[in-house]
Symmetry: none
C-alpha cells in the first residue's frame, strides 16, 4: 500500500492571525481529508495578505496533492483569495457572467442595491471551475496548480462545510488502490476520558481501523476509519468495527448517522405524531430553540414556556407556591410539577422540564452551580433525573442541560409502548 497523498489546509483572515478568532475550519477539513485517504501535512493561517497567500500556494503546490483554502471570498478589498490564486497560477481574473447575473438577481429579490464591491464575488481566476455556494453569496472555485488541486471555499463554516462535502471530497476521491471508508457512532452520557480509556490502542495513529473521538456539549462522536485495498473491503472493515463498537456501548449510542439529539428526538416524535412541549427555567428557551431547529417540527410542537422566576412557574404552569418554598425551584418535585403542568396545558404526550443552577453564581453547598433537575412527563406519568455537570462555564452547563433533556426525552419515548 503506497504512502498517502499529501494535503495542506490554508485559512486566511486578519482576525485569525491576530488571534481574535479561532480557526476551526482547518481541523474540520483535515478530519475529512484524512478520512478520504489523504495525509494532512500542514495547516497555514495567514492574514488578508495577497502576496503571502500567492507565495504559499506556489510553494505548497510543489509537494502537495490537494490544497484547501478558506476565507477571503467576500466582497471587500481585504478579500484577496481570488487575486492570490490567479497570481499563483499566473492567469488573469475574469468575471463569470452567470454568477454575476445570479448575484444581481438575488439582490433584486431582496430589494438591496447591488454595489460595485459585490461584483468582486463574480471574479475568478481564468480556467477555474466555479463551486456554487447554496448558503451564501460567495461562490468558491477549483483550479489546478501544477499537480496540486486547489480549492477555495468561503470562511463561514455553515457555507464552507456543505461545499466541502459536495464539491471538494468527490473531486479528491482516490483511484490508486488504497481505499478508505469511515463510519460514525454518536453517543451521549459517557465521559470522554472513560471512552478513551476503553478504546486504548485503537486510537493510535497507525491502527487500522483507526478510532477517533470528538466531543461537543456532551455528545461524543466516534469516527471509525479503515483502509483497505478496495473500496468494498474498506467499507466492510469500517462497518464491522463500527457495529462492534456500537454493540459494546449500546447503552450510550443513539445514532449512526445523526449527531444532533434534537433531530433524533424530533424524528421519533414525528414518526409517532406525538406532541411535545417544554418548561424551561435555567435553559431559558434554548431547549425549545433546539427542537424548533428541526424541519417539520411544527407538526408536533405548538408551544412552550420559559418560566425563569418562581412566580412564573406558579402562574403559568400551576406549580404550588408551597412546593417551591419547601423544596426550592431546583428540586425533583418542582421538575415533576413543571413537566406535568406544561404537558397538561399544551395537551402534549411528552413534556420536558429543566430547572437548575447555570452558575457561575447562585449555588450553595447543598445545591451547587451546575446542579440541574430534569422532569420528563410522558402519557400522564412523570420521572425526574438529577445531574451535576462537571463543566463549570454558564453557557456550557446550559448546553449540556439541553442535550440531557433531549436524551431523556428520547429514552422515555423509546421505552414507551407507542
Amino acid at each position: 500500500m503506497s504512502a498517502l497523498p499529501r494535503a495542506a489546509v490554508i485559512a486566511t483572515g486578519d482576525e485569525l492571525v491576530v488571534g481574535r478568532t479561532l480557526d476551526t475550519n482547518s481541523a474540520a477539513i483535515a478530519r475529512r481529508l484524512s478520512a478520504a485517504g489523504y495525509e494532512p501535512a500542514s495547516f497555514l493561517v495567514l492574514g488578508d495578505d495577497e502576496d503571502g497567500l500567492a507565495e504559499a500556494l506556489q510553494r505548497l503546490a510543489r509537494d502537495h496533492d490537494a490544497i484547501v483554502v478558506t476565507g477571503g471570498l467576500g466582497p471587500t478589498l481585504d478579500d484577496v483569495t481570488r487575486h492570490a490564486a490567479a497570481r499563483a497560477a499566473n492567469v488573469e481574473l475574469a468575471t463569470d457572467e452567470r454568477v454575476l447575473a445570479e448575484l444581481q438577481a438575488l439582490f433584486a429579490t431582496r430589494n438591496r442595491p447591488f454595489l460595485p464591491a459585490n461584483a468582486r464575488q463574480a471574479l475568478f481566476p481564468r480556467g477555474a471551475d466555479v463551486l456554487a455556494n447554496p448558503h451564501g453569496t460567495a461562490p468558491g472555485f477549483h483550479l489546478l496548480l501544477g499537480r496540486a488541486r486547489v480549492f477555495a471555499l468561503p470562511g463561514p463554516p455553515r457555507e464552507m462545510l456543505p461545499m466541502l462535502e459536495k464539491d471538494v471530497l468527490p473531486r479528491l476521491a482516490r483511484r490508486d488502490g488504497v481505499a478508505s471508508a469511515q463510519r460514525f457512532v454518536h453517543l451521549f452520557g459517557l465521559p470522554e476520558s472513560a471512552l478513551a480509556e476503553a478504546l486504548g490502542s485503537a486510537m493510535r495513529r497507525d491502527a487500522n481501523p483507526l478510532v477517533g473521538v470528538t466531543a461537543k456539549d456532551g455528545v461524543l462522536t466516534v469516527v471509525v476509519r479503515a483502509l483497505d485495498a478496495s473500496a468494498p473491503a474498506a467499507e466492510e472493515r469500517a462497518e464491522a468495527a463500527a457495529r462492534e463498537f456500537e454493540a459494546r456501548f449500546a447503552e450510550y449510542a443513539f445514532s449512526r448517522t445523526e449527531p444532533d439529539l434534537a433531530r433524533v428526538l424530533g424524528a421519533e416524535l414525528l414518526a409517532r405524531s406525538a406532541r411535545v412541549t417544554v418548561a424551561e427555567s435555567c435553559t431559558g428557551g434554548l431547549l425549545a430553540g433546539r427542537l424548533t431547529s428541526v424541519p417539520g417540527i411544527s407538526a408536533v410542537f405548538e408551544r412552550g414556556w420559559i418560566v425563569y422566576a418562581n412566580e412564573a412557574k406558579s402562574a403559568e404552569l400551576g406549580v404550588e407556591p408551597g412546593m417551591l418554598a419547601r423544596h426550592g425551584a431546583v428540586s425533583s418535585e418542582v421538575a415533576a410539577a413543571l413537566a406535568l403542568g406544561a404537558a397538561r396545558k399544551a395537551g402534549a404526550r411528552l413534556s420536558l422540564a429543566v430547572t437548575g443552577i447555570a452558575g457561575p453564581g447562585g449555588g450553595t453547598a447543598e445545591k451547587p452551580a451546575a446542579l440541574v433537575w430534569f422532569g420528563v412527563a410522558l402519557d400522564g406519568g412523570v420521572t425526574t433525573t438529577e445531574r451535576r455537570f462537571v463543566v463549570r462555564e454558564r453557557e456550557l452547563v446550559r448546553a449540556f442541560a439541553v442535550n440531557t433533556a433531549l436524551d431523556l426525552g428520547r429514552r422515555a419515548l423509546l421505552g414507551s409502548a407507542g
Copy 2:
C-alpha cells in the same frame, strides 16, 4: 516609521494536523505578540515531523523577527522539536547537566523510575538558553536563527502560557520606537458590503490606521489598528479614528466594547430595572435563550412564551383567531398583538415578538422564506418592523432575527423617556 516586526507561530503534533485536537495555543500567542507590538504574520501547524519543522524554521527565519514553537518537547520519539531546531541552526544537541539532575531529582521525589527516554528532555541545541518549566517536566529553550529569535515551548497551555509571559515576552520587548494600538466599534443593521464600500481605502493593508471588518449573524465588528512612534501616540491615533468612525456610522454603532447585543440590551434593562418578556414564533426560544445568557438577567426577566402554532398564539397570548385568519401569522398585526399580549401577561415594560418564515420551506410569492415581522411593545405602545433577510439558511435566518429583535428592543428603550 518602520513597519512592525514580524512574528510566526508554529504548533506541532499529529493530533493537531489530523484535526483531532484544536490548536488554541497559536491564537493565544498571537494575541500577546500583537499586543507587544509584533505583527503575527502566519501560523503553521505541523505533525510530529522533524524534516518539516527544520525546513519551516529555516524558511521563516529569513523574514521573521520572532518564531514561537509549541509542542514536541516531551520524552518520546515523536517529540522532535529539539532535533529540528538543532538541524535548522546547524548545531549539535548537548545534554544540560543541571536540567538532567533536576529531572532525576523530580522523578525520585515522585517515586517514578527515570527511564532513558526521560533524558531526552535534558537535550538542547548547543548555544540555546534553557527556559524553565515550573508546571511540567519539559523545559523550553531560546536560540537565534539568523535575525530571528526562536522560542520552543511545551504544548499544554497551562505549562506554555506562564513561560510565554515570564520568558518570551520580556525577551521580545521592543526598543525601536514603533507601537501599535487597537479599538473596536460594533454595528448592527448595515450590510457588510455597504460598510466596505463606505470605508474604501482605509481597508487596504498599508493604511494607518488600518480598518478591518468581521461579521457574525448581522453584527459587524470594525477593528481600527494604528501604528505610531510611541504607545500613547498610537493609542491616541486609534482612538481618534474609532471615534470618527463611530460618529460616521452612529445610526448603526451600538457599542465600543461589547459585541453581544443581548448583553447590551440586558445592561440597559438592568440599569432601568425594566422588566422584559418575549413572544417567539419562528425563533422558537432562541431570543429568550440569548437574553438568559446575560448574568443577572433574572432581575428583569421572569417569563416568556414560545407560540409556534396559531392556536397557541390565541390561547396563550390572546391573539384573535379572526386576525390570524385575515392577515396570517406572519404579519404586522399579529406581531403587534403578540408583543402586547406578552407584555400584559408578564407585566413587562418591554416585550419583543418575532413571527416569520425561517424557511427553507413555507414561503409564498407574497411572503417568501426569510420574511420576518417584529413587534416591540414598550410602556403600552407598540411598533412593528418587517425584515426580509438576504441569508437563506434556516438557522441563519433565525440568528439574524434574534439579533434584529434585540437591536429593535435596544433602540426602543434608548428612544424612550425613562
